[in-house]
Amino acid sequence: MRARPSHMGPAVGERGAPTWLTPRLVRIALISAALSALSGATYGYLVHDALATGLLFGGGLGALLALLEGGVFHGVAGAGLRRAPFVVYFGVRAGAYVVLIVATLGLVVWLLNGPAALRAISAVDILFTMLASVVANLGFAISDLLGPGVLLSFAAGRYHRPQREERAFLFIDLKGSTALAERLGEAGFLRFLDAFIVDVSREIVDHGGEIHKYVGDEIIATWRLKPGRNDVGIVRAWAAASGRLADRRAAYQREFGDGAEFRAALHAGFVMVGEIGSFKKEIALIGDAMNTAARMLDACRALGRVALASAALIDRLPALPDGVELAPIASLPLRGKAEALALVALALAQETPRPLEAAI
């Protein structure tokens, strides 16, 4: 698999599927169709005494809305819209939902019963549409505030009792942040940090990771691990994030006078995962592996490397993606541990320009 995804034109993955059609999105589409069929059936039965019609219409619409989600909100318009103020983001989404639902409803009624039947669409139908759109988009918008998967985990009570889980960790630290903060001033630095986090977290999420936390200028992301070797996207996410920042170097330089680079520590281990807090709740990750990853990030700085990965992680991956090079380095002694941590340094291979056919 290529380490760096294309940022040119319509992106297509190697299996021929569009890159936005991630497993997560397919899951969302199925859930959306099911929920939409359920609410359509309930509404159809209660208001029009037409359960089957409501069920079919709702299910079809759900699939259509998922296309809108995938193609527009996670595709072409995704990045720009996410950075708009919350009210704009929410308004555009809910508005698009209402328009799509009403248009589809009109089209279906027209096709089945002729144009005269359009009058039968009542104000109650439109109101229900608006209510359903607002509720659904409130869910999406709030889920976006918390990060992918977090709202669902809370709703399902998944970590209400703490769970012991094996995870892969990607700790990312912006290089030269103190100097940047001094040069740009606080407001300018905040904008820089925001641009950096937006670029990096996009690659993390696209490669199946969860953004756990921002701590100052650090980003912590995790991937769940199954027993045995796992084809998780952690190294690909790291490579893609480095690639994206390299590609956007000119844009950063234009806007901030300096490009963004980061150090990274990649590690894997068991942690306790549990809900924490009362007036502000989070899903906390607690365990040795977290401290070790933080310690690796310090070592990255001390050794002047762009990325360190623990052997514990590398052993759990089937293979390194193309374009990523690995160099063994001395083990890292850890306080309170008898055995030193076996490490490798990661680096991106010197890029050769990619043939155009591969990108399209």
Binding site: P85, G157, H160, F279, G287
Partner: protein
Amino acid sequence: MTRASAGYAIVRIAAAAAAVSAIYSEIAHGEFLPGAVIGFVNGATMSWVELVVIRAWAEPVLRRLPFLVTLCARAALLFAVALLVNAIFVPLFNGFSLAQVAELRDIVFALSVSLVLSVVLGVADLLGLDVLLGIVVGRYHRPRLEERALLFIDLCASTATAERLGGPRFLDFLNAVFADLSGAIVDNGGEIHKYVGDEIIAAWRLAPGRNEPRILLAWAAARARLAAGAERYRRDFGLAPDFRAALHAGEVVVGELGSRKKEIALIGDPMNTAARMLDACRDLDRPALASIALMERLAAPPGGFQTETIAPLPLRGKAVPLALVSLALEGAPAAVVAPVCA
């Protein structure tokens, strides 16, 4: 929450409920007055239930329940209150008739409002109410310079505690301590900014001039809560928690950060300085350090606080060291916090 501020909040919420319900009543029944009256009573009762019954009395129970259960329990409670108020007040306007008391659209309206409210309150519990409001209103979409009072709290001996209790028990322990500490902070008008490992960062907005010393009261309330709960903690976990604190104030840039996960970030020198003060707390073995920069912005606290001026703290990259006082509660020894923190 103090009695006065709870009363003020209840009146505000009741007024908002009266407005919403008057609009509904005008549209659904053609007259706004009954809606306004019933809405006001409903809003007052619901907010009383939320602020006094749920927050003060049922919170410890609700907190232990899974998110979805809390959400449904809250919705059911609010819905029951609405039905009850309706059953009492509707006959006042229309004379008693069961059909009018239990009209379907009114019940659907009450149910939707209860659901929406409990979802919003549930989400506010996840994000913190101020963060939710701040992001929804777009207050920090363009970064702003704001003056804030900052409270950094660090649990004592957390590494040893984590080793002793083991993962799941340590999370339970952290949860119990965080609930006590954040209760003290929120009751005194602070917002929980962030948890970083076993640290809590809380912030208060400062108005120009001298401000009420709510940050000091929060710190004292947090100490009092942990002291009052010491027996319970010893019984449940075999040790009593304690914490060190740094209290500081200054101008920070406040702005939204991130796209796939959004938060409101605080950036600036005072954040680094407060973190440095927390380290100094540890080095000097003091329970709490407060900067003069903060103390000068606060009105005199009520009795019970002892301050002792200590040597200024040199900061990297700063010409003038930071003027500090060590903070203690009367009756508590200033230097030694508790055996566990030593």
